[in-house]
């Protein structure tokens, strides 16, 4: 069994936090744009942002999965204790693909096809033709995946905090950027 390093490599740390920002941003923008918080113009812009962020997250996830397959990472928590953590981590990959895949289908099958302009740069093609029935199902799947993702984020954070404050191990600090890492270690050490 490979033991995890004392710190994840900088690339792993950076990718983790970019991915975290993307997922939390997607959940926040997704909620705001579907709950009539703003007017029509801002809501339209939020949809475009949500779609652009979603495709960014898809690209990043594909990259991370490829990296994982090429060189399997050591478990963050070894043994049976780490099972819930590994389940949550695997679920993140699977759910990200399901959520974004469903989102792409929502955009494609919408009875009102609005071109996806990736940060205003170029149009991302649709993967299906407009289809009201399929639109309804994929929209439901997308929403469920988003709520499941929000639950996973909560579990992931709770797990990390449990390791930090209850187990008092370095599971959390290993993934923190160096400046935050030093701060967290000082806070915990007597």
């Amino acid at each position: 069994m490979t033991l995890p390093p004392r710190r994840w490599s900088p690339s792993v740390v950076v990718l983790h936090w970019i991915n975290a920002a993307l997922i939390i941003g997607l959940l926040a923008v997704g909620w705001l744009m579907t709950h009539a918080v703003f007017g029509a113009a801002a809501t339209f812009n939020l949809y475009q942002w949500h779609k652009s962020l979603g495709f960014s997250a898809l690209a990043l996830t594909a990259l991370r999965i490829a990296a994982r397959l090429r060189r399997p990472a050591p478990d963050s928590v070894p043994g049976w204790e780490g099972r819930p953590a590994r389940a949550v981590q695997t679920a993140f990959y699977v759910l990200t693909l399901i959520a974004i895949g469903a989102g792409w289908l929502v955009v494609s099958t919408s009875p009102l096809p609005i071109p996806t302009r990736f940060f205003g740069l170029f149009v991302i093609p649709n993967v299906a033709a407009p289809d009201v029935a399929l639109f309804g199902w994929t929209a439901l799947a997308h929403r469920l995946a988003a709520y499941a993702m929000a639950a996973l984020v909560a579990l992931h954070i709770l797990g990390a905090l449990k390791h930090h404050w209850i187990n008092r191990d370095d599971v959390l600090t290993r993934i923190l950027p160096r400046w935050a890492n030093n701060w967290a270690i000082r806070k915990v050490s007597p």
């Binding site: 009539a36 029509a40 113009a41 339209f44 009102l112 609005i114 071109p115 205003g120």
Partner: protein
């Protein structure tokens, strides 16, 4: 934004001033000619959609002329020409989408026109204007009641206000129906000054 809007207003004012009778029926001999004041004119629309806030917007570029015959109101006439591409909803990407073939198809149909066919006086402060609205190249009859008011002030000015609702499907604008409502509310507020 300000210089663009300014230049638009100048363009519209110039267009309105140079070609006050560009189209539409010629005014009767007794009719006085009025030019709409672009700075005090608003051509606005609103449309509802399921799961999306009510979209409200306006058109920034238009020209229009009004001929009023006080002795024989039925001889009066009005014509408005609105540039479809000037749609403004407060978001460039949203505006671009509305200009696309999905909705206004502004490249193929650059102008939205209303030309009156008859005017009927209802009271001192209201007239009924019947005419034809051309949108996406489709012409349909449209009748609107127009409230007419004379704002306080020395100059000869008239204020017009009209509200109506059109069925966009009648003009072949089918995108997004039924998620996007077929009804489009139009509000026109204008002030005209005698030429």
């Amino acid at each position: 934004m300000i210089p663009l809007k300014h230049s638009l207003l100048i363009t519209v004012a110039a267009a309105a001033a140079s070609f006050p009778f560009a189209s539409g029926p010629a005014p009767a001999a007794g009719a006085a000619n009025w030019r709409i004041d672009p700075a005090r004119t608003e051509i606005a629309f609103a449309i509802d959609a399921v799961g999306f806030p009510r979209t409200q917007g306006r058109f920034d570029a238009f020209e229009g002329r009004i001929a009023i015959d006080f002795d024989r109101p039925e001889k009066s006439s009005v014509a408005f020409h609105v540039r479809a591409g000037s749609v403004d909803v407060g978001s460039t990407s949203f505006g671009d989408y509305l200009r696309s073939p999905a909705f206004l198809d502004a490249n193929r149909h650059p102008s939205i026109d209303f030309v009156s066919t008859s005017v009927e006086k209802l009271s001192d402060r209201a007239v009924r204007v019947s005419g034809e609205l051309t949108l996406l190249g489709v012409t349909k009859p449209l009748t609107v009641e127009v409230a007419v008011e004379r704002p306080p002030g020395g100059k000869e000015r008239f204020e017009f206000r009209a509200q109506t609702r059109i069925d966009r499907l009648e003009f072949g604008m089918n995108s997004g129906f039924p998620l996007v409502s077929r009804d489009v509310d139009l509000t026109i507020r204008s002030e005209a000054a005698e030429l």
